[in-house]
Symmetry: D4
Subunit: 233 residues, 8 copies
Amino acid sequence: MGTVEDLGFAAVDHGRVLRKGFPEVVYCEGKTARQVATIALSITRSGNVLLATRANLRQYNAVRNVVRGARFNPVARTIVANEKLVVERGTGTILVVTAGTSDLPVAEEAVETARLMGNPVELMPDVGVAGIHRLLSQASRLQRASVIIVVAGMEGALPSVVGGLVGVPVIAVPTSIGYGASFHGLAALLGMLNSCAAGVTVVNIDNGFGAGFAAGLMNRERPSLKQRHGKRP
Amino acid sequence: MGTVEDLGFAAVDHGRVLRKGFPEVVYCEGKTARQVATIALSITRSGNVLLATRANLRQYNAVRNVVRGARFNPVARTIVANEKLVVERGTGTILVVTAGTSDLPVAEEAVETARLMGNPVELMPDVGVAGIHRLLSQASRLQRASVIIVVAGMEGALPSVVGGLVGVPVIAVPTSIGYGASFHGLAALLGMLNSCAAGVTVVNIDNGFGAGFAAGLMNRERPSLKQRHGKRP
Amino acid sequence: MGTVEDLGFAAVDHGRVLRKGFPEVVYCEGKTARQVATIALSITRSGNVLLATRANLRQYNAVRNVVRGARFNPVARTIVANEKLVVERGTGTILVVTAGTSDLPVAEEAVETARLMGNPVELMPDVGVAGIHRLLSQASRLQRASVIIVVAGMEGALPSVVGGLVGVPVIAVPTSIGYGASFHGLAALLGMLNSCAAGVTVVNIDNGFGAGFAAGLMNRERPSLKQRHGKRP
Amino acid sequence: MGTVEDLGFAAVDHGRVLRKGFPEVVYCEGKTARQVATIALSITRSGNVLLATRANLRQYNAVRNVVRGARFNPVARTIVANEKLVVERGTGTILVVTAGTSDLPVAEEAVETARLMGNPVELMPDVGVAGIHRLLSQASRLQRASVIIVVAGMEGALPSVVGGLVGVPVIAVPTSIGYGASFHGLAALLGMLNSCAAGVTVVNIDNGFGAGFAAGLMNRERPSLKQRHGKRP
Amino acid sequence: MGTVEDLGFAAVDHGRVLRKGFPEVVYCEGKTARQVATIALSITRSGNVLLATRANLRQYNAVRNVVRGARFNPVARTIVANEKLVVERGTGTILVVTAGTSDLPVAEEAVETARLMGNPVELMPDVGVAGIHRLLSQASRLQRASVIIVVAGMEGALPSVVGGLVGVPVIAVPTSIGYGASFHGLAALLGMLNSCAAGVTVVNIDNGFGAGFAAGLMNRERPSLKQRHGKRP
Amino acid sequence: MGTVEDLGFAAVDHGRVLRKGFPEVVYCEGKTARQVATIALSITRSGNVLLATRANLRQYNAVRNVVRGARFNPVARTIVANEKLVVERGTGTILVVTAGTSDLPVAEEAVETARLMGNPVELMPDVGVAGIHRLLSQASRLQRASVIIVVAGMEGALPSVVGGLVGVPVIAVPTSIGYGASFHGLAALLGMLNSCAAGVTVVNIDNGFGAGFAAGLMNRERPSLKQRHGKRP
Amino acid sequence: MGTVEDLGFAAVDHGRVLRKGFPEVVYCEGKTARQVATIALSITRSGNVLLATRANLRQYNAVRNVVRGARFNPVARTIVANEKLVVERGTGTILVVTAGTSDLPVAEEAVETARLMGNPVELMPDVGVAGIHRLLSQASRLQRASVIIVVAGMEGALPSVVGGLVGVPVIAVPTSIGYGASFHGLAALLGMLNSCAAGVTVVNIDNGFGAGFAAGLMNRERPSLKQRHGKRP
Amino acid sequence: MGTVEDLGFAAVDHGRVLRKGFPEVVYCEGKTARQVATIALSITRSGNVLLATRANLRQYNAVRNVVRGARFNPVARTIVANEKLVVERGTGTILVVTAGTSDLPVAEEAVETARLMGNPVELMPDVGVAGIHRLLSQASRLQRASVIIVVAGMEGALPSVVGGLVGVPVIAVPTSIGYGASFHGLAALLGMLNSCAAGVTVVNIDNGFGAGFAAGLMNRERPSLKQRHGKRP
């Protein structure tokens, strides 16, 4: 199931690219800058694309000391490297929709992730349900997408409306944006889980990475399908 | 501040009709059939309209033994009597909108309450956001209403969409309809409290009565306004 | 349903003033100072009143560089501009009541909002239920109001008492003021949702803006009523 | 610290009457009828007053087969026996106040408990804050009490108002009465814990027994005081 | 956006089949048997496949009185009709995996839904993580699937392990199976939302329908792709 | 019911000393230093003892500029003044027990409050249940107390053990001390509310003031008792 | 890692006895009687001890039709068979302590489990902390035990006191016994997780089986130890 | 039950080493540096090993001023002294496993604690379930351990997988590592409590100390066993 590199404090899973079609992603929260840099070096050295999420500037500075060409996106809080290794694989366009301007950092994390997995990605910001015509006026753009990620805080109602308009998978990402009783994204999370629109699935609060990755898998020509096609007469 | 009738187990507040413009309403949960009937008699005898909520058939049977002409609405679970005393007072139409068919019992409680307070009331059922055109095709009807009550379970997204379309007060009523993580209406409640549409206020889960009463007050020509008008040159 | 101005990161909903009778309001939390200023400029340029809530000083400074005459209320944390465009529309006085002195910032946000919507607004601070005579001694002032906003933290009991005294809509605003088991306003929120007084509706924790806006709608002569009265040509 | 009687499934604490001034009380929930009866017999045989709470009819029937004169209160769900052993010990009157009629079963449990501990007890039902004059008109009766128990569901606001009127201890008992977001008494519980009135302490939801017992201790001339008096010159 | 049939208590959205590629699905909870039957008739009459979820026997009996050939699955609690209209559309096999035998009812609802949308579906029951070799011994079967639905209660750990083994979308369905602190599926839900395996998205507790529907969309050749293919040289 | 002094932002309740036997207490959280100082001056000027809780150094400095002799307790975070007006009123000793050293700040707030109400107060720190003999070795000191306040974080078990040993009221104060699943005092709060020892009542998390005040009332010779005893002229 | 028997709806893990030293245990909740019986037959036929938990009488009747000598414990709700295969393996006595009589069903499940794993087990019921001397008088019995299981509802304080008295592992089992704010065992669970006594670990609410099984493992001579012993001279 | 040293603010339990086989451990959260140092001195002076947890650098500096040779572990946040007094007592090896690198601080606290109790301890980091082969490739190392501590955040699935592989006690430690809906470790905690693998017990969130201590007790030759062996013929 693939080789593992033992760094003492971490066991880097180099076999992941074979099993998942994408190398291990570094989650930076709770790691020292040095730990992040050492793992980043291990991944890039083995010839893989680097994606590190929830990174801060200190961690980025440690990474670029050892990994040439590492790039930091301060809004998305991502570090990427070896981008030239990305191969275009998506079968359609992934559309990332946000309810408000304050949801952009989470949306950016999703965009970075999906792009690095080889997908064409488009952004449609600030079309929350309080002004529903902003969304409806772009209905044909929604209907052209292959997978849609909807990022929303507060009541998290936007995925239900989008889900009612399209026949493709909708991934809902609750954000922690909101007044008191949003309880740091809980209200949006529950709203999305209870969506009355069929075809909506949900990821963790503020988890733009998870949405981008899942969208990348959904938009990929499946390995199993290739096999199946090979078996056909 | 009005007279009180001491029934031993209850202190009926006959002054409420003066302070609030509507007599005390009987909340039947946790009361014996006999207690409900005795309070109902006290209210009707003093020349007031009777509204009892959350009533069951046993309580209704006890009431109609002592109050002539009492009527039971098994969907709304309300008992009413002395309806002929209702005076039309509303300054516009109250519109009660539901997201789904399963929300009808709560909506019916709101309708009964608002009607008994003297308001014209209309019902617009099953226009949830998963099929947004059902709502949008009735936009002009929404815009003609004076106050709108929106009843929804699951993610409770409908009030936000309605609130974005109209310039009148929207009262949101979460219902306990939904799968597991609706947590008996909590998801809808939080969604409504976090509505991104301005002008939405919220009542308790399944509290059709509370919504109907508040709508009745909002739709009423205020006593204070009459006074104020009198003082103007 | 109105024009939308695309700023790249935001879609400003200039049609909102037609649908809601008030232009889009800027929620500043999670936005950069530059984003707030650009949106503020878009709103004021199109001839609308500006209201920005949850603003900080940095955001205000960015706004006043581009919007002449912008004013900051550091207690309410609001930025307003184009105030001369405000038209008096209220049909009565909106009264904002607070349980304690610590609830004033939230009350101020409600006051700013309701005033900007064209309403006469009065403030009655620090009349919490632990000294009930402070409230009762002002009963006639309560009864003169057209709509009442009650701002309270801790147990949030004040709206129930106020709601029992008056026949007009009461909007309850829970605040995050309190000891540990207030859970940042949850106790007050639940208290208000469970109010035994009819006619009380609730907004989100610390959401003075939402209360002020809803009160403004309730206190407005409804467009639909004008139609009904046949005043339109 | 007192003798213990081992019944195999239970260890009856006969020393409790010495330590606490009242014998062990039987909590019937989750016990078989036979277990309740055996414990009841052990307590009464050792010459103590019997109080069993949360009892059902089956448990009562098992008890009265073995304990002569046992009495069942179906509203309070209590079984009592050996009442003739009760000695009047209270230094004042304990007043039990309820917000509504539906709170009576919990109030009755408190009344039974406090009476059995030797206190004069009075009941003041249905004086909830939505009709505050019902309470205020009895202010002098409130002020004559030595300890006050306030039983309320829904928002649980009544203890704060009562606590603001009197200079004696107020014990608040939340009940599970209410609509959805009362969450089976949680709203009232949190409200009471956050009471802005000083001197209010709280017991568990629906725990009339706990309130009655604590009130009994507060109303008792303390053993320690007698000692202390004895030691003074 | 499609025609709506007004049944008085319901507005059947006949346009849904165009927007979503599948007709409206009837959620039976909270509806009367008569309401369910009337909606079922409206759907089948308009030439669409019928799927009704959370149905009971009474509702089924009402349906089969008016819809010929309706079939009831008592484990899945589904009613289906017009199955001959189902067109095979899936691009690969959907695999439904369960952690335990007790999760089968939810899994069955997913199977029924995905099959009715035209997908080949396989079931792999009882391979929970406490005996991980049961799962690993079927790794190649996992890797052949096009989309995987993982149904698990208790700690909900299975989707993380499955997600680590495959490069296709994994839809996690928490079930309400478990001891006390599962809190009716909350533990499994939170576990799945926090999955450390990328590519896992989540639906509501016990929502087999939602998982089956989303899997159906993911496994479908996207309409948008056909368009895009048409544009290629 | 007493006079009120209107300070614009606050309504100081000078009648509270008559109703409660102690003047209004200033809760400093959320108030400006200037507001605290102005209220402090109003209270002390009217000849009352000053107690301000949850104060910080800035608020204290503002107070001592206007109130001579004000004293700050940085552990308890209290400001007191006019201490010479305190009259010894307690009928016995109030004992404040803590489970650990980390609970001392909350205990100190209780001590300050009870002392200022005229009670003899003793402190027994760090006798948590993990070393039960520390508590048991002081059993006679426990049994001499008139009222006992038990301050504990973590699992909050100490009040149950103390409550089992004494026949006087026990006031339990949960603190926010503890590891993750203490949830800032929630675990201790729930533990205390569910105490199996009769006679335990509970105040809010970290609310040393509330416990001290309630203990002061319980330890006071009740006004009502004097009336009953006929000692008044 | 052991063989698996595929029953269609279940995959019986016959290798578990090798990995864990005890065969698979049947959790009956959510399974049909027929499913339980089929699994029970599979386990007993393969020469293993049968333990089924959370069983009801219907499930038991189905089992004893196919498994000779199956025994039902209606208090513990367990089915056992092949008891003659139990080998005594424990290195000391497991003591099961309960706070109250109502905790006995959960304690019985632990007793059955630990006994079936080959351990001597003793029961010490009803020694809750409200009468601490009941526990302390049996201190030497506590100190003789090798592992202690403490079963308690309400505030769950007993494990902390026991844990302070002994130098062996204490397994705490919260039960769902208690008044309202026990929230079905949540209060006891949180209390136990926050125990100030070192050496206490916790299992799920009402999970007597889990406690009994863990105690069995702790009390077993470890396989690894045998290896180590082999290395000794 | 052992001597207690009264430090005024603390009662140091010198008898704990006799009852528990390990001296009192200092929990530093909420204590002043001076308090920590004074307690540390008391413990070391009485000839005991010092372990202080949740310490910061200021507290460490105060300790090393008075306790010679005190050592600080900044990752584990522990202070230790008198290490030469540690006596090897463990009957096997304790293995500490982590799901990710970010869980290392909690794991380190467990390692320090178990080592100080005299156990051989090994660390196996970063073998989370998303790359299950990392764990499985070390199965024999897992099976050699005597007790296993599993530290994991996010969904906390690792203990279930480990528990399915071994026949020794597994202690699960949830950490607060994770995205939004981990709710600071709640998701992992609930996951672990609901583990489908038998033999898993749980400690508080981030409580490495508690896990290390419990593992130490489990791995110890029990005093009671020695006694028992001695008493045998």
